[in-house]
């Protein structure tokens, strides 16, 4: 039976793992992720969820446990945050290279030092090149829906890659909102039992991910790149199918809002995308042609979708909750890279905002938009990268 509950994004990630009939969960606590695995512990303890719940001694071990479990051909889940994700780094490559469709909730939290428990994307974006698919969510409902969509995608035989479902700490992780949980029967028909691409079997022993000499290594790497391209094609299809079945759809790779005739497009990730929509509505009332494009999937990066937005737009503004020190935000880099070599490309202004959990409100985004519109009119982007609301 479908039910509407009022709960946090972390608990909804737990509900999603249960709904996906996950068979192995590796759990290690870290703020602000802990309540994800706490919720799952509750489900396993009270018998609502039939899963092995492995309490490990570190995040590196959590990922090692997930890799081993997934290698036996079962659906596997874990969750982490910030320094925990960083500690997993080496194992993340083993998961993707072994082509194991593990799904992990990453509750975004700034990397120290200085110590912080509040959100930015410095943790998950540091893992950009690990071969993991990366989703970024803007609401509690989207977290639940994306965990299910991620399994559907990752277990597709044209993909077989792991995925991170990222959500910002506290803004979503500990905030209660209403959310719909579809009936188990409908979820089961969307997400059938997992069929692995290969698996460990005691009757037919193999060892995996072994030494590959230089003459074949590149081909294995290319197969991951192909899988990412396949994912880029499949994500919008899966999102549409999910929307038809359950009523929630997120624009596939990019959630576009009032972009059709926009002079200026605002690029965001995560919850900033929701605030951007409010800012767009307000500015539209003032007669300003502004649109919002929330990048929902950062890897694979939706280059083609970005190019489709060139159309009328004379100006792109990227808002990064992240900084690649010595350069700019990753979103700015990827957007500029997508535009290179295209005709009549808009100018791009990069903004850094919301690091370490500083609030990015719709007013902040409006301010960013108005500065960008000014530069659009004068034809000159005066600062390559603007740190929003930085103290003098």
């Amino acid at each position: 039976m479908e039910q509407t509950i009022i709960d946090t994004a972390n608990h909804l990630a737990g509900y999603a793992a249960k709904a996906a009939r996950v068979k192995v969960v590796a759990a290690y606590p870290i703020t602000p992720q802990t309540t994800v695995v706490e919720k799952i512990a509750e489900f396993v303890e009270n018998g609502e969820m039939d899963a092995e719940y492995i309490r490990v001694e570190s995040e590196h071990s959590a990922m090692a446990a997930c890799i081993s479990a997934a290698a036996t051909g079962v659906r596997t889940f874990t969750a982490t945050s910030s320094h925990g994700l960083a500690l997993m780094h080496e194992a993340l490559h083993w998961a993707s290279g072994s082509r194991l469709p593990i799904v992990m909730t990453v509750v975004n939290r700034a990397m120290g030092a200085p110590w912080s428990i509040w959100p930015d994307f410095s943790d998950s974006l540091s893992q950009r090149d690990t071969g993991w698919i990366q989703f970024y969510c803007a609401s509690n409902q989207e977290v639940f829906d994306t965990v299910l969509q991620a399994y559907k995608l990752c277990e597709n035989e044209q993909v077989f890659l792991p995925a991170m479902v990222c959500l910002e700490g506290f803004i979503l992780s500990h905030t209660y909102t209403p959310a719909k949980i579809p009936s188990q029967e409908k979820i089961d028909s969307f997400l059938p039992p997992y069929k692995s691409g290969w698996s460990l079997d005691v009757d037919h022993p193999v060892s995996h991910a072994n030494l590959v000499a230089p003459d074949w290594f590149m081909e294995f790497r290319y197969s991951i790149q192909e899988a990412m391209e396949n994912a880029k094609r499949l994500i919008p299809e899966i999102d549409r199918d999910y929307g038809k079945r359950f009523g929630f759809e997120y624009g596939g790779l990019v959630e576009k809002y009032r972009c059709e005739d926009a002079d200026l497009v605002l690029f965001t990730m995560g919850t900033m995308g929701s605030d951007a929509k409010i800012a767009v509505d307000k500015m539209r009332k003032e007669g300003l042609k502004v649109g919002s494009a929330r990048i929902r999937v950062f890897r694979p990066f939706p280059m083609e979708e970005i190019r489709k937005l060139i159309g009328n737009a004379q100006m792109f503004a990227t808002i990064d909750r992240h900084i690649s020190f010595g350069m700019e935000g990753f979103l700015a880099t990827e957007i500029k890279s997508s535009l290179l070599g295209q005709k009549d490309t808009p100018k791009v202004a990069g903004f850094i905002a919301g690091l370490g959990g500083r609030d990015v409100s719709s007013e902040t985004i409006e301010k960013i938009a108005k500065k960008s519109l000014k530069w659009m009119d004068t034809g000159k982007v005066e600062e390559e990268t603007v740190w929003v609301d930085l103290r003098k």
């Binding site: 072994s98 290969w198 022993p205 193999v206 060892s207 995996h208 991910a209 072994n210 030494l211 294995f220």
Partner: protein, 94 residues
């Protein structure tokens, strides 16, 4: 060694190896020290057979160990584990 792929289409998702004898060749040539069993001291407890990391020790019919010198790398774990010191490590040139 498993079969060598001809093109990318033949590749598995991840490289898989099947159990086989000595896919790296005869690794006994790596040895500096050679384990030698004194069968008069051996109690046939099979501990050396359990501990050999290269499965280069087999159990004979009477449970006494037989070392396969084609693959024994001379790590000395068997000699270290033997509870009655029935295995001695000697330099190859001796």
């Amino acid at each position: 060694m498993s079969k060598v792929p001809k093109s990318r289409k033949d590749l598995p998702l991840t490289p898989l190896s099947y159990p086989t004898f000595g896919s790296m060749g005869k690794t006994g040539s790596w040895r500096t020290f050679r384990p030698e069993v004194d069968y008069s001291k051996c109690t046939k407890c099979t501990i050396c057979w359990v501990y050999c990391p290269d499965a280069a020790i087999t159990r004979q019919n009477d449970d006494s160990p037989k070392i396969d010198y084609d693959y024994c790398k001379g790590c000395g774990i068997c000699a270290n584990e033997c509870p009655v010191k029935a295995i001695k490590m000697r330099r190859e040139e001796e």
